[in-house]
Amino acid sequence: MITRRDLLKYAITGIAGLAVPTAAIQVLSSKKIFAGKGNVSNVRWIFLVNTYKCVGCGLCVKACKKENEIPYDANVTRTWIERYVITKDGKVFADSPHGGRDGFIMSKIYLGKGRYQDIKEEDISKAFFVPKLCNQCDNPPCVQVCPVGATYQTADGVVLVDRTWCIGCAYCIMACPYGARFFHPVYKVAEKCNFCYHRINKGLKPACVSACPFSAREIGNIQNSNDPIAKIIKTERVRVLKPEFGTNPMVYYIGLDKEVR
């Protein structure tokens, strides 16, 4: 006769057996699992955006879409430009029609639902453009929430998506505070800026950086003490987007305003 205690014991063993992560059964040293994010690489890509220099031409967005095979007319993009117009009475207007792919060729601000806002020149107190892209965060929340390990961070800090492994649950899209992720219209998997990983590994600059006529966008390696961009970040006053989320972004901004979202 089996006692209640025995039964309980077996039941607990059973549950424990189930709860043991199937992944952990894979032969792995515990050292590797708890290794954390050591900086084993001598490359850590960083990005610098100068919002004073940006004129909102959108050539970066155009080049990015073509370089990275993002369908040109789909309203999703790896990088985009936002326009901010702040009027003298303190109102903030912002838009990013088609992600700024075609530049900003009129002074009206797009309000969505086919409506526009006219702003008189003399009412503007400050106005500027802010290019956005994936921040390749040091603590990427999008990677943390991927249920299958289809998105990950490489040793040099770039967050990539494995198109053959993504299940398309959109959890990463919801987890990104910057709106950098979307679904690729053709491959139907999560998609994002990867600093043109194929270019930077061949010694080229990302398409958006090279396309910019005004050097508003630059890429560098923070691990290299001679890197001119790394020097700027270390010696000048720079800011990152939404630091309150604890994501530790690797895209730095010069001239970021408090109204930038």
Partner: protein, 426 residues
């Protein structure tokens, strides 16, 4: 290749998202109706199980009939609960990767394991409850000569279901009873954990100002129990009434056997006891939700400016009228009124189910009603008439299929686990 094809079709997300003011270009309603269905269905599973455990663990005798029913129904719901997620996936055939390479820092991956464990517990408990029935059916079919093909199939099914254990002596059945009690006991925390996890999936998204609160898992558990109990009351009443209707039409020879339910209809005492638990959990659920709302308004952090607009203007009808008014306050008053009748119990159950569904809706859709910029809004348009696969699976009819599926499955399960006529020896 130098030029990318123009005019590629974007997914349906753009069709059902209307943007207003300033949003990021990549923002759409990515989690739509199926993600509303998912916590709703999971909640029903957990709630139905907790209800059945009230009898098995805490010995609430009045719930004896309801308990067996609730457990089988919970099992039927269990099979349907993952379907909304699968229908939501853009790569549904890769869904099983969650079990292949689970990334446990993700709430969804851990959910897979908890869900599996929970399914195992419910299945085991059912096995112990119905073991005697399996063995008796298998043995009687075995002895029968000239089996028809359908009887052969039935025989094989039941033979497999016995798992090779034919001992139904008094002693063995006593052991079964103990096992049921233990499994039901383990099942309660696991069921809460299961649904708490569904809440954690939302509550842990720090990017979303509406979702991110540690209260989310608790709120989800409470509303899950509420919805589970309501659905059990409703289905129990309807199922018994349907059976009585058919039984009365059948011209039965006098003296032939009729089960208790066939003749006497719904036992109002069972319904009354169940309703008391419904009231208790309803109060808990609504208090927690209101606490969350009041706390947000009082602390008024950065996001409150836009949340206030979303809650008090954009979602006024679905939140305050449908969820809190019709879905919570009205059933609350109806439950407090004396002399509960079957008809009133049905109305209460339907309203509570509506309220819980609207709660899921307001969290999932409401959480995406405002932009990450805190300076723009997104409006969701549920696709009704499907014109392609995307608008079916994430549209009205996709959700409707998920709603109906558990009842069909319950009808099938009822053939294997007879809920109503089953005479328990213990």
């Amino acid at each position: 290749m130098t030029e990318i094809a123009h005019g590629e079709l974007w997914t349906a997300k753009e069709l059902w998202t209307v943007k207003e003011l300033f949003t990021y270009p990549n923002e759409y309603i990515y989690w739509s109706i199926q993600i509303v269905m998912y916590p709703f269905m999971t909640g029903l599973v957990a709630g139905a199980f907790v209800l059945s455990s009230l009898y098995h663990v805490f010995g609430v005798k009045q719930l004896k009939d309801m308990a067996r029913f609730a457990l089988v129904f919970s099992f039927a719901l269990l099979f349907i609960a993952p379907l909304p997620i699968v229908l939501h996936l853009l790569q549904p055939f890769r869904g099983f990767y969650v079990f292949m390479t689970p990334h446990f820092t993700s709430a969804i991956a851990a959910f897979g394991v908890v869900f599996f464990a929970y399914g195992a517990i419910v299945a085991s408990e059912l096995w112990f409850i119905y073991r005697k029935h399996f063995v008796e059916t298998a043995l009687s079919l075995k002895e029968k000569h000239n089996k028809t093909p359908s009887e052969w199939v039935k025989y094989l099914i039941f033979r497999v279901l016995t798992l090779g254990a034919y001992d139904i002596s008094e002693k063995a059945l006593k052991t079964d009873e103990k096992a049921i009690k233990i499994l039901a006991g383990i099942g309660i925390p696991v069921a809460c954990f299961l649904h708490g996890y569904a809440g954690f999936i939302f509550g842990s998204v720090k990017a979303n100002a509406l979702w991110m609160t540690p209260l989310m898992p608790v709120i989800f558990i409470m509303s899950a129990v509420v919805s589970g109990i309501a659905l059990c009351i409703l289905t129990y009443i309807v199922a018994i009434e349907i059976r009585r209707f058919f039984a009365s039409r059948k011209a039965l020879p006098p003296g032939s056997f009729q089960s208790k339910e066939d003749t006497s209809g719904v036992d109002i005492h069972t319904i009354k006891t169940t309703s008391n638990y419904l009231l208790f959990f309803l109060i808990l659920a609504v208090s927690l939700e209101l606490l969350d709302l009041i706390f947000r308004g009082y602390t008024a952090v950065k996001a409150w400016d836009i949340l206030r607009v979303v809650l008090y203007e954009k979602k006024l009808i679905s939140l305050f009228v449908l969820q809190y008014g019709i879905g919570s306050l009205v059933p609350f008053v109806l439950l407090l009124m004396p002399r509960l009748t079957i008809k009133r119990a049905i109305v209460i159950s339907v309203l509570v189910l509506l309220g819980v569904f609207m709660m899921r809706w307001n969290i999932v859709i409401g959480g995406q009603a405002f932009s990450l910029t805190f300076a723009g809004f997104m409006h969701y348009q549920l696709p009704i008439i499907p014109h392609n696969w995307d608008t079916f699976r994430e549209g009205f009819f996709g959700a409707l299929s998920i709603m109906i599926a558990p009842f069909i499955l319950f009808w099938i399960f009822n053939k294997i686990f007879p809920v109503f006529d089953y005479k328990e020896s213990h």
